[in-house]
């Protein structure tokens, strides 16, 4: 088996690199061990003269430790942390491999000596979609004993949801139940996890791979695999912590007058160096709150005179989420006895169902200091939107498709923070802060000749605009078929003229639409899928990739079930067989979902 080549960024000229690669390729493991030890010893013997930073970074003082980094990721955060941990681990002489929960069965866990788990929680306490089977297996009676396995769990979640970090908590407890040893305490993190996660990873790795007092070996182990592995996600240049500035160059409500919808096409011009993304990625927007809401919040605690405080919380703090943590903190801070009745989970769920922080502070009013108020608030998280463009078609631009979220409850008009930030509080020419969230589990097939079937409702059509644009730019010849659903044909056919152009040019081969409210019976995309099942099966036989994007509860679940039925039909309607077939497609990367 061929060894991976030396990383391109290794500190050698291209010529030397080629020479070294040749040499390394035909070397035996023994030769390589000898050589690395020899070279390390050589520098040590030279007393550091000529030593460079890269060499200093080579950890010579640690024994080699195997480590399985297991992740369960929905939006890619846990996955990114897992790969980041692997990089750090390599420096600590850990032989780390990263494994997706979607690709492993629980039985093989028992073989891992050391296990670091990065897992997020989705919706109302559910595991990420690709991790569902693993999770079920782990929780079942059939799960193997894990005596002798050392582990640690990092749990991602959102305090805005009642069952905060539920999946991580349960996995942590279950591993212990199965006999594994918790070597480092679990941490539960909110969306602003970056710094805390990094610190936790360092501390966790220190436990798995402690530095030893005395140098025990002259041979330095270099983990060749740790660098330049093909399936490792590239880290984006612009992150939530370090966003890029973008200028809004277009902002159009795509729904026709009289629509019940409000969906904005937003074009962002990003001049930042190296800003790029792949179709299927998400663009994060760092929003700001409605200043009026910030003022209301300050007024509720008697701080409305403090203009700079109002500006500060409007810009950087989450002032809408009403979480258990906030209620507890507020109760503790104010010592209000009447808040005790909200500590019951059910009562809190009922109270917070359609209320926000401002309601808590207004209904249980207390005077607070600015510091006390800030102490109650978490940083305002970014909001991710599936990118609706290809950067190849629009250099330096990212286009987003954003549904304005608005509702009324308890006598108050409310709006989604990020969607109304763009829809109402920003105009063309204004600047916004954005970042890139790659999603390698939602991407075009590498082979441009592969047919693709794209299923999306509402804003779920966004990535497909990027897909088709990308395929036009790359000259991909594969067929494409779009299933689009919304409420009304006349006013809600998002990007209609563009789809018409793509059909005319052949960039889009087929389109089917489902408009639920145009006729007495509701017609959704899954109904169109079922109608077209014969052709869908034929496309799958031709190697088509299936994509689903949009609302999980409102669409993706029904689409999933329909796909099972479609796959089951040639198998005598055996839905278990259909489900297995769909799983195969998932494993093969041919059924990809971006649902929210």
């Amino acid at each position: 088996m061929a060894l991976p080549p030396l990383p391109k960024n290794a500190p050698f000229s291209a010529e030397d690199l080629a020479f070294l690669n040749q040499l390394v390729q035909r070397s035996t493991p023994l030769q390589r061990s000898w050589l690395s030890g020899f070279l390390a010893g050589l520098d040590a013997a030279q007393g550091g003269a000529g030593a460079v930073a890269a060499v200093q970074a080579v950890p010579a003082q640690r024994p080699r430790v195997p480590l399985t980094i297991l992740y369960g990721s929905e939006s890619g955060n846990a996955e990114a942390l897992a790969y980041k941990a692997k990089k750090t681990a390599a420096k600590l002489n850990c032989d780390a491999k990263v494994v997706d929960m979607g690709d492993i069965d629980v039985a093989s866990l028992a073989k891992s000596k050391n296990l670091a788990v990065y897992v997020s929680t989705w919706g109302e306490g559910d595991p990420p979609q690709r991790a569902v089977d693993f999770y079920k297996e782990l929780m079942s009676d059939a799960a193997p004993r894990l005596d002798g396995v050392k582990y640690a769990v990092l749990s991602l979640g959102d305090t805005a949801y009642v069952n905060f970090c539920e999946t991580g908590k349960r996995i942590d407890a279950r591993l212990a139940e199965l006999g594994a040893t918790r070597i480092h305490d679990r941490i539960d993190l909110d969306p602003d996890f970056a710094r805390a996660a990094s610190a936790w990873t360092d501390a966790m790795l220190e436990k798995f791979s402690p530095a030893v007092e005395a140098p025990s070996a002259t041979v330095v182990h270099v983990d060749f695999k740790s660098a330049a592995i093909d399936d490792e996600p590239a880290e984006p240049l612009y992150t939530a912590e370090d966003p890029a500035e973008a200028e809004i160059s277009a902002l159009v409500n795509l729904n026709g007058s009289g629509s019940s919808r409000e969906t904005y096409h937003v074009e962002l011009a990003v001049e930042a160096d190296g800003f790029t993304y792949e179709p299927g990625a998400a663009i994060g927007v760092l929003p700001e709150n409605d200043p009026a809401l910030a003022a209301d919040l300050a007024r509720a605690v008697g701080l409305d005179g403090d203009a700079s405080l109002v500006a500060k919380i409007a810009r950087g703090y989450d002032i809408t989420t009403l979480s258990r943590a906030t209620v507890d903190a507020y109760a503790k801070l104010t010592g209000r006895k009447d808040l005790a009745k909200l500590t019951d989970a059910e009562a809190l769920a009922k109270f917070s169902a359609d209320r926000q922080l401002v309601d808590l502070l207004s209904e249980y009013p207390e005077k607070l200091t600015a510091e006390q108020l800030l102490g109650l608030l978490r940083p305002l998280p970014g909001r991710l939107y599936s990118v609706a463009s290809s950067i190849k078609a629009h250099p330096g631009e990212a286009h987003l498709l954003i549904g304005a979220v608005r509702w009324s409850s308890h006598g108050r008009k409310r709006g989604g923070v990020a969607s109304t930030y763009l829809a109402d509080r920003r105009k063309v020419g204004d600047r916004v802060r954005v970042y890139v969230k790659p999603n390698r589990h939602y991407a075009l097939p590498a082979d441009g000749n592969r047919p693709i079937i794209m299923i999306g409702a509402g804003t779920g059509v966004a990535p497909y605009r990027g897909f088709i644009e990308d395929r036009v730019e790359t000259g991909a010849k594969g067929k494409s078929w779009l299933f689009f659903g919304e409420r009304n044909y006349t006013n809600d056919f998002l990007y209609q003229l563009e789809w018409q152009d793509h059909l005319a040019s052949g960039a889009l081969s087929r389109i089917d639409v489902a408009f639920s409210r145009d006729q007495p019976e509701k017609i959704y995309v899954q109904h169109r899928l079922w109608q077209q099942r014969r052709d869908i099966l034929a496309w799958l036989d031709d190697g088509a990739h299936l994509y689903v994007c949009g609302d999980e509860k409102g669409m993706a679940k029904d689409v999933d079930n329909t796909l099972v039925k479609i796959l089951a039909e040639p198998l005598k309607g055996d839905e278990d067989a259909g489900r297995a077939k769909l799983k195969e497609l998932t494993k093969a990367g041919r059924y990809q979902r971006d649902v929210y």
Partner: protein
């Protein structure tokens, strides 16, 4: 080969009205159908339209025009049962814009049906035992008959002729059933099994063809405005025959004086037994003699203008194989509807039913915040035991009401804010076409503009003491003249947004066309121009003299004595 109008080629290549309609319906990426197919679709009773109010915003929103379809029913005689009314009302709510539009040719129109619902709407209409074939297009369109069939035995005869003639001239192509009904025939509208068009031929007519049956003294159907008219001649309560008129028509083109509205000529008298045959021969002569090169000169009125009525009559008689009789005397009093209750004209006093002619502004049956006419009519239909008849003035007759039912119907109408009378004689005699935002031809507002203008004019009428005076006022958004504006005593034809040509001097009974009085005038100018004329009329009119007759006698406009002098002797008033 002589040059032919584009429509002629489309018809020829259409495989008897099929074209690409069926395929066009399957293209889900667009709400439109192919342009050529839109011409053919008219023969099936539907026009493709788009909401012109929102045109400007659509491209920016990456949306095509807001296309939808108007569907017109073929309803000779205009009568529907309560059961049918309920079905038609359902369709309006389910597939159309929530309104039923009564038309100036006594049928129903739906607006705002989108392409994906077109076929199921057609099927729903057919399930109500009504079809839409030949409601538009270059064929004999919906046939109107006088007032309503329950008024007298004679009116019933008029309706029978209307239905029989409409059915006789139905296209025989199977295209309609094939495209809309999946060949399921709820009602058999294609008599022949073999597919050919024995009367029309494969090219159908050069242009639309309109037929009506009138029963004097009412000229509610505006008999002289139509290609073919039957005027019932009644002796001792029986129809003894018909005076046949030919060559009437409203449409013209702005700025082209070789186009003009025309009142029909008298062809001659025929017996009831000959009526359909004579009509068919009129149609076939027009089929063969009509202008298929220049579409705007293709209607029967121009054929007759070109060859003369005598030559035309000779050809019809030749094809009939018999001579037509000399026209019998008759006289018309008015073109309007008698709003309110009236009883049947014949029968035993004890059996006489009541009939309520309900004024429907612009023919639009709808619910507003204060007036819930659609709901009221629905409830009346639900109660049953009556009949509904659409009039040629966009009004509705609730017919066959017993004395016992009468107060119940009045109560139902009152409950939903529907007033039986109108605010003035002017409004009682008002008619407007649909125009903006759906009609593709509209140059200006009509249905959305006329009611407000009448309100303004009512102030002037009040000050002249003429509020209850019957004056015929009509408006159209383009010169095609769906609301027959050139036969109105006060007529408006749209020129561009907010601007109208003002016509005066037509006869109250529909026998004389009007004359252009002012060009490109806006609301303010209209009021300024009409105020002195109305005031003069109030003081100078003779006993019983109608407004249209007065303006001619007073020399305010010259009389138009025939279509071909419509554009002559025009002296424009200064606005």
């Amino acid at each position: 080969m002589t040059e032919r109008a584009k429509n002629e080629v489309v018809k020829e290549n259409s495989r008897l009205l099929r074209g690409g309609i069926a395929d066009g319906l399957t293209h889900v990426e667009t709400g439109a159908i192919d342009e050529d197919d839109t011409m053919l679709l008219k023969f099936h009773g539907s026009y493709m339209q788009d909401d012109r109010d929102v045109r400007a915003e659509r491209t920016k929103k990456k949306l095509e025009k807001a296309f939808s379809f108007m569907i017109r029913l073929r309803l000779p005689g205009g009568h529907v049962t309560p059961e049918q009314w309920l079905k038609l009302d359902d369709i309006a709510g389910t597939y159309a814009n929530g309104t039923l539009r009564l038309t100036t040719r006594a049928t129903f129109q739906y607006h705002g049906v989108i392409k994906s619902n077109l076929k199921r709407t057609m099927q729903a209409i057919n399930a109500a035992c009504i079809d839409t074939i030949a409601a538009c297009g270059d064929v004999n369109r919906n046939v109107m008959s006088a007032s309503h069939p329950f008024l007298s035995k004679v009116h019933k005869e008029a309706e029978k002729l209307a239905i029989a003639f409409s059915n006789h001239l139905l296209p025989r192509t199977g295209a309609y059933h094939e495209i809309w009904l999946d060949d399921q025939k709820v009602i058999d509208t294609s008599a022949a099994t073999e597919e050919s068009e024995p009367i029309y031929g494969p090219l159908y007519l050069p242009r639309k063809f309109k037929t009506v049956v009138a029963v004097p003294p009412d000229n509610d159907v505006d008999v002289f405005a139509h290609c073919l008219g039957y005027i019932a001649i009644v002796e001792k309560g029986e129809v003894v025959g018909y005076n046949v008129t030919v060559g009437g028509g409203m449409g013209m083109t702005h700025g082209e004086t070789d186009t003009f509205p025309r009142t029909a000529d008298m062809l001659g008298f025929c017996t009831p037994e000959q009526a359909i045959d004579v009509g068919e021969k009129v149609v076939t002569v027009q089929r063969d003699w009509g202008n298929r090169a220049v579409r705007k000169n293709a209607r029967l009125k121009y054929t007759i203008e070109r060859v003369g009525i005598d030559a035309f009559r000779a050809e019809v008689e030749k094809r009939c194989g018999y001579q037509l009789g000399a026209p019998r005397p008759f006289s018309f009093t008015s073109t309007g509807d008698p709003i309110g209750w009236r009883q049947s004209l014949d029968g035993k006093a004890a059996d006489k039913k009541w009939h309520l002619t309900l004024y429907v502004e612009n023919g639009r049956v709808k619910d507003t915040a204060t007036v819930k006419m659609r709901t009221a009519l629905r409830e009346i239909a639900l109660a049953g035991g009556v009949d509904f008849v659409v009039t040629s003035n966009q009004n509705l007759v609730i017919a066959n009401v017993t004395a016992k039912q009468k107060p119940k119907i009045e109560a139902l109408l009152a409950k939903h804010g529907v007033v039986i009378g109108t605010s003035s004689g002017l409004r009682r005699n008002a008619m407007a076409c649909v125009a903006l935002p759906t009609c593709a031809l509209a140059l200006a507002e009509s249905e959305r503009f006329l009611p407000g203008l009448i309100t303004d004019l009512e102030d002037i009428l009040d000050s002249a003491g003429l509020r209850e005076e019957d004056i015929v006022i009509r408006m159209t958004g383009c010169p095609n003249g769906c609301a027959r504006p050139y036969l109105a005593e006060i007529g408006f034809v749209g020129r561009s947004p907010g601007l109208y040509n003002l016509y005066l001097g037509a006869a109250f009974n529909g026998t004389r066309l009007s004359k252009l009085y002012a060009q490109d005038v806006n609301r303010e100018q209209i009021l300024k121009l009409l105020e002195p004329v109305i005031k003069r009329y109030a003081t100078e009119r003779t006993e019983g003299e109608h407004f249209g007759d007065f303006v001619v006698r007073a020399g305010i406009v010259a009389a138009t004595t025939a279509g071909n002098n419509f554009h002559e002797s025009v002296v424009l008033a200064k606005a």
